[in-house]
């Protein structure tokens, strides 16, 4: 080997060692998430910029698909390889399930210093804390029992916002007579389940708690459940035949374009209306699903923190603190359509629907009627949730009759326990 070559090799090795060394030295966070669409990603970029201004670099690992399902599979591989990311976007029981595996980090240091216990609703804390320790930083609260109605279609149908089930049906009937699709809906299991959530909640908060959270067999198979499935069957009759597989944002587009009358969907749908240049109150109306005013079913995006080496711990805590910064909470949630996970964030930057959402959340939190949404993995663990999906979707598609559904429902839940 010539002298020159040796020098070159040595120089190369030195450069490599240096670059590796410097990469280790800087604070960095590796973030696994599925917010890849324009608005959400832009909102997350606020957080990234904030951290970068504090000297923390952000290694981005997006895996979209299936509302986070693909990301959760990737996470399993990462944790099995003992190479977990610093922070992972996660929902409800997924956080609890991971905590049980003993692989999550501990944010108590920051949480205690910043007093998170006092400002985050208890229903959220059930997921953000495990064994008394903070393990995840909640970003937002979405509530799912909303109905988005085209103002034009509503005016043509009498103009009165429905306050109960009968008025809701009367409105849908008029919309049908007016020649539009009364209920814009996409036939995907989670969307069917979103309808089901609202329907069950409208039959009483006690019933929702007994059936969806406590999984009381009597509630799951009883007459009230049959009534819930009956209402689902009724709702199905207001959906067009081309609904199966339709993405939720295309269903929103139907309402925006006036082809559809109303959509039952979580508050993320608002973003679609706003982006299309529509204004709350004048172009579209947001109401709680009739019969559920005063109660809220929610889901909450959180950044679950994993156990990392000491070299990354500091950056992890900085990230958690940045997420709970009221300014970020406000900026992010204005864009995302959700409401802040802290109850002490001023509502000045939010629109009417956002303000209503924040007020409803605070009210439900106080009255004890803030419930995790079954459809979005905040009421029961994934295995039971999916067992429920199966029956709800099959019933909605006419594979099971309303009479047979409650028994099947209870049996599926029992088998998945």
């Amino acid at each position: 080997m010539s002298f020159n070559k040796v020098v070159k090799l040595a120089a190369g090795a030195a450069v490599l060692a240096l670059s590796l060394g410097s990469a280790k030295a800087a604070d960095n966070v590796e973030v696994l998430h599925w917010w890849t669409s324009g608005g959400e990603a832009a909102a997350l970029d606020v957080l990234k910029k904030d951290l970068e201004s504090k000297g923390v670099t952000w290694a981005d690992m997006p895996v979209a698909g299936g509302g986070g399902e693909a990301a959760m599979t990737a996470l399993r591989a990462r944790v099995t390889a003992e190479n977990p990311p610093t922070a992972v976007q996660a929902l409800g029981f997924d956080i609890t399930d991971w905590a049980k595996q003993g692989v999550v980090g501990d944010l108590s240091e920051v949480a205690t210093a910043e007093g998170w216990d006092k400002v985050v609703p208890t229903a959220l804390q059930n997921f953000s804390k495990y064994d008394g320790k903070w393990i995840a930083a909640p970003v937002n609260v979405h509530s799912t029992n909303w109905v988005w109605i085209s103002k034009k279609a509503l005016d043509a149908a009498g103009g009165k916002e429905p306050a109960n089930w009968d008025e809701f049906i009367a409105m849908l009937d008029k919309m049908k007579a007016n020649g539009i699709t009364p209920l814009a809906h996409g036939g995907q299991p989670w969307q069917d389940a979103t309808l089901f959530d609202a329907v069950v909640l409208s039959l009483g908060t006690d019933f929702y708690k007994a059936s969806m959270i406590d999984l009381d067999p009597a509630a799951l198979s009883g007459d009230k459940m049959k009534e819930a499935f009956g209402r689902m069957e009724k709702l199905r009759s207001y959906v067009d035949d081309n609904f199966s597989g339709r993405d939720w944002n295309l269903a929103s587009a139907m309402v925006i374009e006036g082809k559809g009358g109303a959509q039952m969907m979580g508050d993320w749908a608002k973003g679609e209306f706003l982006k299309a240049g529509q204004k709350p109150g004048t172009d579209f109306v947001c109401i709680r699903f009739p019969g559920t005013q005063g109660a809220v079913t929610f889901n909450s995006d959180q950044f679950m923190m994993f156990k990392v080496g000491d070299d990354k711990k500091k950056a992890q805590l900085m990230m958690a603190s940045a997420i709970e910064d009221p300014k970020f909470q406000s900026a992010f949630n204005v864009v995302k359509g959700s409401v802040p996970a802290r109850t002490d964030v001023p509502n000045t930057d939010f629109d009417d629907c956002g303000k209503k959402g924040m007020a409803d959340l605070a009210e439900a939190n106080e009255k004890g009627t803030l419930f995790g949404s079954m459809a979005h993995g905040h009421a029961v663990p994934a295995s039971i949730k999916n067992a429920m999906y199966d029956v709800i979707t099959r019933h909605f598609n006419g594979e099971i009759t309303t009479d047979a559904a409650p028994a099947e429902f209870a049996a599926a839940v029992e088998a998945a326990k």
């Binding site: 399902e69 035949d241 597989g245 994934a382 295995s383 999916n386 199966d390 979707t393």
Partner: protein
């Protein structure tokens, strides 16, 4: 020097060893591991509480699983038969000294090069009554045209067949074309001299000669059918309802999204049994005589 000779003799085995070792670990050890998981109470991550055959009992009680297996029977048989017939037909047509063969062949073959992540959206559009074929026909004035299979619980599985055939039949065509090109000309000449018609020559002489290609095609298609996953996810997501679930989507969803790894593992084992029961007899008959020389 004897050591050197020994080394020379050992080289072939040494060359093969890393590959074989890697496959022993990454395939067979993993299969045993999965088999073991199927007997445990694993939920989100592997855990090792032994539960015997409970997962298998649960599995066969699930209507979801029965639907997946029934769908595989429908999908698999149609897919294999249509691909083989279409592939053979295309190969025979292309083998008629077609001028544009060099142009047409890549057109038939290219779908194999694309993943369904790429073509899934196009197919979804095409089959969707709102924007796809039905809407195009309405645009063109055929108002009564109706094509709503993908929204129909009874028919949706057939749209999966259409897209799957589109993807793989060109590859089967290439296999048959290669087979046809290998047929000895003398046999055909002799038959022609005897006055046999074209159809007869194909039916009685050439197609029977394609037997090994049919077998290879069957193996390739059968394993593609059983492993079909991307296709269903991109096209229907398993819906409407659960009308297009297949064992591969079932297994993925139970293992990874439903946190029922034990049941997922047991369905994987059933899938492997299905695959091996197709492949092993084939392999046995192929390998009995060693490679033909």
């Amino acid at each position: 020097m004897p050591t050197r000779v020994q080394l020379q003799n050992a080289i072939p085995k040494l060359v093969l060893a890393p590959s074989f070792a890697a496959i022993l670990v990454f395939v067979y050890a993993f299969i045993f591991y999965t088999g073991y998981l199927s007997l445990t109470d694993s939920k989100m991550l592997p855990s090792y509480g032994f539960v015997g055959l409970e997962n298998y009992e649960k599995l066969w009680k699930l209507p979801h699983w029965w639907r997946a297996v029934t769908n595989l029977a429908i999908f698999g048989s149609l897919y294999i038969v249509i691909c083989s017939v279409l592939g053979l037909l295309l190969a025979i047509l292309l083998d008629q000294k077609i001028r544009a063969e060099g142009f047409l062949r890549p057109i038939y073959l290219y779908p194999m090069a694309l993943s369904f992540i790429v073509t899934g959206t196009a197919w979804k559009w095409f089959l969707d009554p709102g924007i796809g074929l039905e809407s195009v026909m309405h645009h063109w004035g055929w108002e009564s045209f109706s094509f709503t299979w993908i929204k129909d619980r009874q028919m949706a599985i057939y749209t999966v067949v259409i897209a799957a055939v589109w993807q793989s039949s060109g590859f089967v065509m290439a296999m048959f074309l290669a087979g046809l090109r290998g047929v000895d000309n003398e046999i055909i000449k002799a038959a022609q001299i005897d006055g046999a018609s074209t159809a007869t020559i194909y039916r009685r002489i050439i197609i029977p000669l394609m037997r090994p290609v049919f077998l290879s095609a069957f193996v390739v298609l059968a394993h593609l059918a059983i492993k079909s996953y991307d296709l269903v996810v991109a096209l229907t997501g398993g819906g409407p309802g659960q009308a297009t679930e297949l064992p591969a989507t079932f297994m993925y969803s139970y293992t990874f999204t439903r946190n029922s790894m034990g049941i997922g593992a047991s369905s994987a084992i059933i899938m492997l049994v299905m695959i091996f029961s197709i492949i092993i007899p084939y392999l046995y008959s192929e390998l009995r005589g060693g490679p033909r020389q």
